[in-house]
Amino acid sequence: MTETDEYWDLEIKPKSSLFDLKLKDVWSYRDLLLLLVHRDFVSFYKQTILGPVWFFVQPVITIIVYNLIFSNLAGIKTDDIPGPVFYLAGTIIWNYFAECLTKTSTVFKDNSAMLGKVYFPRLIMPLSIVFSNLIRFGVQLILFVVLLLYYMLSGYHIAPNIYIALFPFLILMIAALGLGLGMIISAATTKYRDLAFVVSFGVPLLMYTTTVIYPLSEVIKKYPAYSWLIKFNPLTAVIETCRYGFLGKGAFSWDLLLYSSAVTIVILFTGIVIFNKVEKTFVDTV
């Protein structure tokens, strides 16, 4: 047997191709992904009395506060939709995005003890964050549906329509956006931690650049010249489409959705590529 035709299972090299995403590796570790999600879910409510009920508490209180301040006090219109449903739709989507983004952006730092000791495809870690939060999102979605049914039965004019079918696709977009942006930031923060500070105060502020607490129609009406700024945020199309499907109100357009999808794909892909590049040596710098 000469050296050239010897077969090796694995070759450890300083650099690998930029686009070698090792997705096959990720697939072979899918059990780990499930167990990490299970861990996050179970450890969230261990030693609490209310248990999973805590998943509801945060959005409920948030929409009560939003309703009081933005709707009653500031008088921001909600497209003739009852405040609580309107805010809840925006809030749970925004929370899902924000959680994915902030948790992913610190994934190297938070898990350095584990990542520094054992190898598994690093992509598993951010993916587990996305899936863990998806469960939380799912639970909160139940709350939303209950509230929606309540208002429909109380005679409010809410008209769910066929665009609900886009919902799974929209979820995928939020997850991809949060994951992609988070991975870009996480890669950047292994060396310079400055960005981590930007994330911690920037993400809550970012909420105001998308249509969580106001409808897009209101912006177009009041500030027609600046509405592009809001539309520029890829999440706007997601939230608006979602509201349109469930509530029958909202500014839905295929163009905007297409734009958001394109941005999402670019961000996700960039994120994965950068993440894969950094994961090989982040242990030395984090």
Binding site: L10, Y29, L32, R39, V42, K117, D284
Partner: protein, 415 residues
């Protein structure tokens, strides 16, 4: 024999001090050079990783130009001083970090045990943690399920398996963690010093399990340890690293022998001008050998002084083993001691410790000093190592853990 691991020109550079080169502009310069496919302008080739001297550049080579091959089924002990590059090598092999240059080719699945209990979550139960930890180490769920009973059995924590691990004692925690790792099915197992945990009985069990893995199951084992006894029991070949380079590779026995030469700086057999307190100091304390064989004598010479004329009421030499168990105490009190220390502020004691009945291993020497100014034990002043007495008739010595605490002289006849 087929090769399991082949390492070519492996090097790993680390940045000293702050990360980044310090300024963004230098970082950019570096990036620009790399983009054009040039050498990194801030990496200087040729400096060795000697931590005691200050190098010229702030980049050190933790590993430099390593070339070696490991055969399938070998148990390789990787030894070397702290900072020799052992852990870096294991980190690269287990893909936690990637090399700066060079390649490693591997046949088969690698399981690395750089630390036991990685990813254990305190809130989860033992059962949940077995699954999680197993998956982190690369096992499929079905595989863990199949081995679950075996793992629990090995760990001996069956009663607490549905209790959150944060309620475990640290020993139980470690036992459970090792049990998971020990049941990994991989062709290559990398182990770093995990045996330094747990009680003696469990350590024995771990060593036994690792012996089964390499000898019985024919898997390749890479084992890093400072415990030479464990290395010589487990491994059939050795690799000695020194300052990031391979200093020696060969049989375990030869490698360990070479290591004791390298390690001589650590096994201090002499100290001078060592202050015990502001007033009392050891001017000289030496033993004549740093290595003895069981039953040999060890000569010592001690000069101890004090700022004032001072009655030393007691001086004693004590010896303790690597588990910090005191094994002997040589009381040096005598009328001469009292008489001399009453009139002189510097006393010299010399003598021999005779027929030391110690099992092979590392031992440390401390001083017990009692004077008008001081009553204290001083640990770790000198070190020496006891080596295995040569056996006759090609008989292999029993492993240490079955041999009790001391070696005795005996004779026998057989008819």
């Amino acid at each position: 024999m087929a090769k399991a691991i082949k390492v070519d020109n492996l090097s790993k550079a680390y940045q000293l001090g702050d990360f980044g080169t310090g300024t963004i502009s230098r970082d950019l310069e570096r990036y620009w050079a790399r983009l054009r496919g040039k050498e990194d302008p801030f990496l200087k080739i040729g400096e060795t990783n000697d931590r005691t001297t200050k190098g010229e550049s702030d980049v050190v080579w933790s590993l430099k130009d390593l070339n070696f091959e490991i055969e399938q089924g070998d148990a390789v002990g990787i030894i070397g001083r702290n900072g020799a590059g052992k852990s870096t090598l294991l980190k690269i092999l287990s893909r936690v970090t990637s090399p700066t240059t060079g390649t490693i080719k591997v046949k088969g699945r690698i399981a690395s045990l750089l630390e036991v209990g990685t990813g254990f979550h305190p809130e989860l139960t033992g059962r949940e943690n077995i699954y999680l930890n197993g998956a982190i180490l690369g096992m499929r769920k079905a595989e863990i399920k199949r081995k679950f009973d075996e793992i629990v059995d090995f760990s001996g924590v069956e009663r607490y398996i549905d209790t959150p691990v944060k309620r475990y004692s640290s020993g139980m925690y470690v036992r459970l963690a090792f049990a998971v790792a020990a049941h990994l099915e991989s062709e290559i197992l990398i182990v770093d010093e995990v045996l330094a945990v747990g009680d003696a009985e469990f350590q024995k069990k771990c060593l036994g399990k690792m012996g089964d893995v390499s000898k019985g199951e024919g898997r390749t084992v890479l084992f890093v340890s400072h415990n030479m006894e464990a290395v010589s029991n487990l491994c059939n070949t050795g690799l000695l690293l020194n300052n990031g380079e391979i200093a020696f590779s060969g049989t375990t026995y030869d490698t360990i022998a070479k290591y004791s030469v390298v390690a001589d700086e650590i096994f201090k057999s002499k100290i001078t001008d060592h202050a015990l307190s502001p007033d009392v100091k050891v001017d000289l304390f030496e033993i004549d050998k740093s290595e003895i064989i069981t039953g040999n004598d060890l000569a010592f010479n001690l000069t101890i002084s004090c700022t004032t004329n001072n009655n030393f009421q007691s001086v004693a030499i004590f010896i303790y083993d690597e588990y910090d168990q005191k094994v002997s105490f040589a009381d040096l009190r005598s009328n001469d001691l009292f008489a001399v220390s009453a009139i002189k502020n510097k006393i010299n004691i010399s003598g021999s410790l005779l027929h030391l009945p110690y099992l092979p291993g590392k031992y440390k020497i401390g001083l017990h000093v009692q004077s008008n100014l001081l009553l204290k034990d001083f640990f770790g002043l000198l070190h020496f190592e006891v080596l295995q007495k040569p056996m006759t008739d090609d008989i292999l010595p029993y492993p240490l853990h079955v041999r009790g605490r001391t070696e005795i002289d005996y004779n026998f006849t057989i008819k």
